[in-house]
Every structure is written in structure tokens, then in C-alpha cells.
Symmetry: C2
Subunit: 357 residues, 2 copies
């Protein structure tokens, strides 16, 4: 049995003012006609039925998820009492997939990434699933790097492995590495045995629970307590108490970097994490001056800008490398090289104008 | 008798999108709590009664003027059938002040300039009026230049003249010169005998009509025809016919550059023609990063920008020397060094989105 776990608790601050705390990136149509999470569900439904898909999120987003994915059973929306990074999120989901069977395969994916070539993605995913079925393997999907990106973590794999499943090679992972500096990234890409860490994981429920038992005893203890109170009226209180005690640790750091039986399937399917407004440049077509323009825009002498509006007229004159995002109640004007620092604006808003967060 | 003529037909395109064809600069509150034309009327009322003030404009602005200056007699709004520059405008006004008396003094002023030091202005204006009363003199007010501005015309005066009226010196004008290039402007300012052309003129009605008779025979002929049809039901038609035939000529070019009896009173009263968005920098206080900010703005790492909005939040990050003007239905983002080229945006709008003009 194959199950899906969609991690959908992120706040996506870097897409402010289009994204807000109450409506983060995964619920927006940043690419295509469906929202990011809808596209994520659409993809998983090609490999498993909707009743096997769990969405892990927080209480604020439960209603949006119900609205955006009407065929998702209400019980499949798993509410974390607070965000404690991906290890806790995945652990909680595993308690649910476990009830569907110890051997159930978990396909864990973020809710806010773009995948352009769905066919190739499904093929890679199926190979990863096969590898996960064959034992206690912890499998991840690594993205073939197109450039020395410093915004992603990398996965180093051992080139010797020659295993091929369903046409896709599977490699043994040597190391998960943090976001590198530029020179290191160049070295990684040139070496040919580094992939981008996509945050997508495939394993048996029993395999990840065993790994958590082995490498994350505190989380394991919390999960055991939570399991005891399932289907009781104390579950919310217990979840809150147990989550309160947990450290905030990623599954990469907590498990993947320590485990031995870790494999990666390289993928090349137009993946993008859409991490900030500059990502939009990779997704949309540019005009003859290198601008990405959406909305009612008149641009004169305007180069390499990203302009996103709606009905209201936006006129630009003599600007270059500027990001303009116009929404109903807030407007952002930001130089492209500061796109990663939108959080600085949010800090100011927190202090003075929290209604716009 | 002293009369006032306020020229209020300008389109003020350089303040788009705050100004529109239907609501140009002179009707906006760009500085202070009253609109530019209201402030102009307020100043003139210190020297003459409202019933002596004429406002020359076109049919589109008549209602705005009635609304903004409720005590102005309706008959004092003079409607030109089309804009034909300042010579025709002043000629038409002279036909009206003539009916109040051949010797009536005309104080001709633009409707869209800022004057910060009103007391000094009134003193300079009174001196100009005295000089105009004393014969057929054509008198203008010149602004002491604070910097080598290339956006203004200049008035060269003869330093020898030592005449002083009411504490203000009066000089004989040698030459009206067009907008200079930067090096020439530097030379003008250093020489000490150049002033900025403010477009303010003071003379007897008979004096300017005589000058038009002498230097602008076509305009003189048209005015004589128009005068004949005053108070008849053909006046609108005649105005249209006569204006249609006229060349578009400024009073500077048509009369002032040719006449001999031209005088200038230098003034230093915080004058600004508010010619484009960058003028706003001279009028408003800057924050510690050199920004002029009005509206609901959060700026991070933002320098030397001009930001004008209202209730909607404008957030800026990592930008410098940018002009941002947000209005209900249109937003302009423009580099400061292109502020004079806003007309390029308007050209585009004319072609594609005329509703925003």
C-alpha cells in the first residue's frame, strides 16, 4: 500500500505581500491554474488514492486545505499544535500511515514546489517506491543541479552504485550537506556526484519509525505517548504537551545524515522550490527586455524586472532589476538582489503594522 | 485698479498618475492644505478683490475651478476654446480687464507654482505693480537662482539700473533666454545678472494690448474680432474660429523678447514651479535616509526615494533614487533621473490604455 504525506505547515514569508501568514505560498497559484498544494495532490493521486494522502499542517490552514482539496477526507488533515520542523511532522504522519499497515510506503513531499515535467517525476517516484519496498531503505529524490545554487542543500552520492529500477538509476547516499557557498557549489556541480536536496522522501512506515527509534529517542518517546492517546478526547492536549517538549529538528539532520541505508534517485523534471520572488523568473516567459510581467502593466525603458499585479495599472519607467508586487492592500517594491530579505520588511511590520503580515 | 489673471489651462502631465487630464496639477494639494490654484487665489486676494480676478482655462476645468474657488464670480472664469500658449491666453484676459479700465493693472500668474514666503512675494509684487503703473512698462518677476537649473528659462538684466521701489530693486531686462545646458546655467548663476523666468507678468492692460498690436499683429486682429462679439450669442463660435487660426506662441517669445520697456523685479521667496516629481524633494522634509515619504509606508534599506501613497501599505526594500506614486487605480514606479520623461508613459497609455490619462 502506498500512502502520501504532504507537508503544508510552511509560512512562505518570502512571497509577501502575495503570501500572508493566513495564506502562505502553498495555497497560491504561483505557477499554473491550480494552487501549489492542489498540484501536489494531483501528482500524488497518479500513484495512490486520495484516501491514502495525509496533509500535515497547523490549525490555521485546515480550512484552506479543506476548501482547496474538497475530496480529501477530513480525518486526513493532520493538525500539529506547533511547527517543530520536518522530523516531528513526518513522525506524526507515520503514526497515521502505520494504522494502514506497517509495510505501507510513505511518499513524503513538500506542498510548495513546482514540477514541470510530471511524467518524468512519476517515473522517478515509482523507482523510489520500488527501492523503498525492497527492505528498510530510506530513499530520497535528488535533483540534477542545473547551476551552482547556494540556496539549496546538496546530497552527495556514491557513483559506484549501478542499480537501475524502472529505467532510473539508484545511488547510495554518502552525505547530506548544508547550503554551500558559491565556490563550493561550483565544485559540487562540476564533480557530478552531488544532487539538490528536494525534501522528498520515500520509505516504509516501519523503516522511518525504526530510524526514529534509533536516532531520535526523544521524538520516538513522544510518538509512543501520542499513539496511546489516539482516538481519545485527550489527544489534543497530549499532542500539545509532547510537541512542546520537542526540539525543532529536520528529518535530514535527525535521521538521514545518520542512517546508513539511504538511497537517492536522481531526477530531472523541471523542479523548482519557488523560494523567493526571483524564482518567478525561472518559471515564466520573459519579454524582450528580460521582464517577467503579470497584470495590467505599461513598462517603458524597464529591464529585468519582475512585475506582478492585477487589474490596477502599474506603469514603470527607467528601472532595472526591481521586483514589484501589487496586491489589494499592500505593495512591495524591492531590488532583485534583496529578494531573500523580504523577512526584514516583515520584521518591521511585526513591530508596527502587524495587520499586513 | 488692480486685476489678476490666473493661467489655469495646463495639463501638468509630469505629475501623472496623481494628476490626470481631468484633474491636472493646479487642482491638486501638492504642497500644503489648499490646492495650487486655491493658494494662487489666496495670494492675489491680498492685493486685489476676488471680483477683479480672472481665471483663464478650458471648458474641462471650469467646474473644478467653480468648486475650488466658490467665491469667484462665474463670469470671471474665461474659457479658451483650445490652448494656444500664453500670448493668446493673456490677450483674451486683457479684453476682459480692459472693460474694467484701460489703466487697470494686470497681474498675470501661473496657477501651479509654490511660493513659501508669501510676505516677501507680496512685497515684490507690490513693487512690480508700482513700476507697471509708471508708464507703459512691461514688468516681470525674476527668481534669484539657488542652483544652475536647466529646467527653467532665464532673464538677463542690466546691473546698472539702481531703481528701488518699496525696498525692492527694479532692473532693466536685457534678454529672455531659453532653458540652458548645464555649463551655460552655471555661467548664468555665477555671473549674478541672470534670474529664473517665473512666468509672472505685471503691466497696464493698455500696455500689453499696445505691445500685442506692435509685435503680434495676427493676435491683435483676432482680439479685435473677439471684442466685437462680446456679449453676443456668437461669441463662442467667433472665439473658436479666431483661436483656430492662431499660432501657439508664448508671451515671452511673442512680446517680452522684442519689447524695449521690459523690467524685472528680483524675488527670493521660496518659489518652485513644481515641475516634476523630483520637485517634491525640495518642498518636503526628508527622513534620515534622504527619502520623502507620504502615506502608509514601511521602508527598509531605502535611500533618496520619493514615495507618495495613501492608506494602502507601500513596503520598499533595497531601493535607491526611485519615485513611487500610488493612486486608487494607477501606480507609477520611475527612476528619479527619468522623472521628466513621464510623458513617455503617457504616450504609451494614449495608444493602449487612454482611460488612465
Amino acid at each position: 500500500m502506498i500512502t502520501g504525506v504532504i507537508m503544508a505547515g510552511g509560512k512562505g514569508e518570502r512571497f509577501w505581500p502575495k503570501s500572508r501568514i493566513k495564506m502562505p505560498k502553498q495555497f497560491l497559484k504561483l505557477y499554473g491554474d491550480r494552487t501549489m498544494i492542489q498540484q501536489t495532490v494531483d501528482r500524488l493521486k497518479k500513484v495512490m488514492p486520495i484516501k491514502n494522502i495525509f496533509v500535515v499542517t497547523n490549525i490555521d490552514y485546515a480550512e484552506i486545505i479543506s476548501d482547496q482539496i474538497p475530496d480529501l477526507p477530513t480525518g486526513n488533515i493532520l493538525i500539529e499544535p506547533m511547527g517543530k520542523n520536518t522530523a516531528a511532522c513526518i513522525g506524526l504522519a507515520a503514526l497515521h500511515t502505520q494504522r494502514l499497515g506497517e509495510d505501507s510506503i510513505m511518499v513524503v513531499v513538500p506542498s510548495d514546489h513546482v514540477i514541470k515535467d510530471e511524467e518524468t517525476y512519476i517515473s522517478v517516484l515509482k523507482s523510489a517506491i520500488e527501492k523503498a519496498k525492497a527492505g528498510d531503505n530510506l530513499v530520497t529524490i535528488g535533483i540534477k543541479p542545473s547551476h551552482p545554487e547556494t540556496g539549496y542543500g546538496y546530497i552527495k552520492f556514491r557513483k559506484l552504485t549501478k542499480e537501475i529500477i524502472n529505467k532510473n538509476p539508484v545511488h547510495k547516499v554518502e552525505q547530506f550537506v548544508e547550503k554551500p557557498d558559491y565556490d563550493t557549489a561550483v565544485r559540487y556541480v562540476e564533480s557530478g556526484n552531488y544532487l539538490w536536496n528536494s525534501g522528498m522522501f520515500i520509505w516504509k512506515t516501519s523503516a522511518i519509525l525504526n530510524a526514529i527509534y534509533r536516532y531520535m529517542p526523544e521524538l520516538n518517546k513522544a510518538l509512543n505517548t501520542i499513539r496511546e492517546y489516539f482516538d481519545t478526547d485527550k489527544i489534543e492536549q497530549v499532542l500539545y504537551e509532547e510537541y512542546s517538549k520537542l526540539e525543532s529538528i529536520s528529518i535530514d539532520y535527525g535521521v538521514m545524515e545518520k542512517a546508513q541505508n539511504v538511497y537517492v534517485v536522481p531526477g530531472d523534471f523541471g523542479w523548482d522550490d519557488v523560494g523567493s520572488w526571483t524564482s518567478i523568473e525561472r518559471l515564466y516567459e520573459k519579454d524582450e527586455n528580460g521582464n517577467v510581467i503579470r497584470g495590467n502593466v505599461v513598462s517603458v525603458d524597464t529591464k529585468k524586472c519582475i512585475i506582478t499585479g492585477s487589474e490596477k495599472l502599474i506603469a514603470t519607467l527607467g528601472i532595472e532589476d526591481v521586483i514589484i508586487v501589487d496586491t489589494e492592500d499592500a505593495l512591495l517594491i524591492c531590488s532583485k538582489d534583496k529578494a531573500q530579505d523580504v523577512k526584514e520588511v516583515l520584521k518591521e511590520l511585526k513591530k508596527r503594522k502587524a495587520e499586513y503580515l
